[in-house]
Structures are given as C-alpha cells and as structure tokens.
Amino acid sequence: MHEARSTTHLTDAQLFGLAIPAAGAPEALPSHLSDCLACSRALQEWKGAVRELAGEMGPIGARTPEAWAEAEDHTMRSIRRAGSVRRGTPLRWGVGIAASLLLIALAVPMRRSSPGAPSGAGIAASELSPEDQADDALLRDVARLARADETGGSWDSLVPEPGTASREEERL
C-alpha cells in the first residue's frame, strides 16, 4: 500500500492521507493534483471507497472489534482495486511504446539493406554469413560502378547540362 508508483505521482500513502484527512485539519491539496488527471482520479476513487465504506459500516461509535476488522479489510481491498486500475494505464502505454520501438528496430535495418537488392530487398542481411555479406557488398559496388549510377560517377554530376548549370548559378 505504501509503495511509490512514480517519482512524480502521488503515493498510496499520500492518497490515503488526502482521502481521510486528520480530524480538524484543513484539506491541503498538493498542486500536483491540479496538473495530473491520473492522480486526481485516483484520489476520487480513494474518497469514493472511503465513503462507500462509511455507508456500509454505519456509525463509527457503534462498531464492534469484528466490524473494525471487516472495515479494515474492506478498505484494503478497495485501495488495492483503485491502485490496480491506476497502474493499468501506464502499463498499457509501456507495452505500446515497447511494441513501437521493436517495430522501428526491425524496420530500420531492412530499409538499410534494401538499395540495389533484387526482389528479396526486404531480406535482412543477417541471412548471409559475414563473408557472404562482404561479397554481397562487393557485387553491389561493382554493379553500381559499372552502371555509373553513383554520385560522382555520372558525367551529369561532374558536368551539368548547360541549362542546369545556369539555374544552379542563379540559385547561388
């Protein structure tokens, strides 16, 4: 119950203190509550649980020891239920973010291996042994150089067409 969920969010102990303030003490709400919807909702749940408990248990002065024990158990159950609901949302976000990162991590190497590849362009380079990967790179370089389609290998890149050159100069 007293575990700290987050360095920024209110702890269970703080929420408990806010839901059941000490007798005669003014209700001092931390400024975090005005900014954090999750903590604000959690506090409402805690307060609701306290109200629900008070309604079920009747006047405090008439309670037997068994009734106090039952009240304590009920309070603990309500608090745990509220806590688990609150923890569910960050967990779902965490799973979503992790899945996105995994997809990105898988997609980036596949994009890198794609230029010049045949129909198996999406095939990861890891399908090949390191020696084969070196050969693969050699063959791609050879093809690129033979076709003169590299940057600096094409005559157009060295000597632009007259019209192109003048437009380049105009831009400069």
Partner: protein, 169 residues
C-alpha cells in the same frame, strides 16, 4: 567541359560498351545485384537447387579477385579525375586523358561482370533466368514508385491536403 568533349565522351562510352561486351542476351541493367544465390528466400522463389547455388558460387569466386582489382582501379581513376576537375588550373589534355582512363576502367569492369553473369546464366534454367530478371524488374519498379512517392510527398509539403506547399500556395 564543352559540349564537343561531352559528345566525345558519349561516343567513347558507346564504343567501349560495344567493344567490351557484345552480349545482348545478358542485360546487365536487369541483372540482380548482390549475392542473391545465397539468400534462402530467393533460392526458394527461383527454385534454385543447392547444387546450382554452389556452381554459381564457384563462378563468382573465380571472378572475385579480378572484380576487386578492377573496382579498385576504377575508383582510383575516378578519384584522380575528380581532383583534376576540382582543380581550376588543371590541364585540359590531362583531364581528357583521365576521362578516357576512367571510362576504360569502367568498360573493363563491365566486361568482367558481364562475363561472370553470362557464366551464371549457363547454370540457370531458362525459366529461372526469366524469373530472376522479372523479379529484378519488379523490384526496380517498386523502388521507382517509392522514390516518386517520396518526391510527390515532398512537393505536396508537410501539411495535409496540400494546405502547405514549398511554393507557399
């Protein structure tokens, strides 16, 4: 470089290509790059047997040293030409000679690659060869479409529905 020199270079390119490999059956433009015969998915797609894969590997290994040498030679000559082109005081004749050297080196590399491709073609069955070229063509088209898509996306600008364009419309 004046247009006359450009024309010479183009004529030279055509001549070197014709002299270097009169192999119309082997389309270097359409031949896949890389070590495709070692990729399991491509092997399956082409129905390439392990024996064929080994045979192609032998052909490649036989050509590899020469390809490495010719590639290095071309790159060195390209580098020399690039330096001369960037040098405003470079001698015109020297540059012309370097251009010819680059294209000679490229023709040698093309020839070596074409011969290797021709040997590989002999290992494949006709339908495998056709399928290989077809796959390469499809991949090329997909790449071009993706490239055009990226370019169109840039022209449309980052906003939705063309709300913002580089032209500020």
């Amino acid at each position: 470089m004046r247009p006359t020199t450009m024309s010479r270079v183009r004529i030279f390119l055509v001549a070197a290509t014709l002299a270097g490999f009169a192999l119309p059956a082997v389309s270097q433009q359409g031949f896949p790059d890389g070590k495709w015969w070692k990729r399991p998915r491509l092997m399956a797609e082409l129905n390439l047997s392990s024996e064929q894969s080994r045979e192609i590997e032998k052909i490649f290994v036989h050509s590899r040293t020469r390809l490495i040498d010719l590639k290095a030679d071309l790159e060195k000559k390209q580098l020399a030409l690039q330096s001369s082109m960037e040098d405003r005081a470079a001698d015109r004749r020297t540059v012309e000679k370097e251009i010819e050297q680059v294209e000679n080196a490229r023709a040698e590399l093309q020839k070596a690659r074409a011969v290797m491709v021709l040997d590989i073609k002999q290992v494949l069955k006709p339908d495998q060869w056709e399928h290989l070229l077809q796959m390469q063509q499809e991949m090329k088209e997909r790449r071009m479409m993706a490239k055009e898509g990226r370019q169109n996306g840039y022209r449309q600008g980052p906003g939705r529905n063309g709300a913002r364009t580089p032209r500020g419309e």
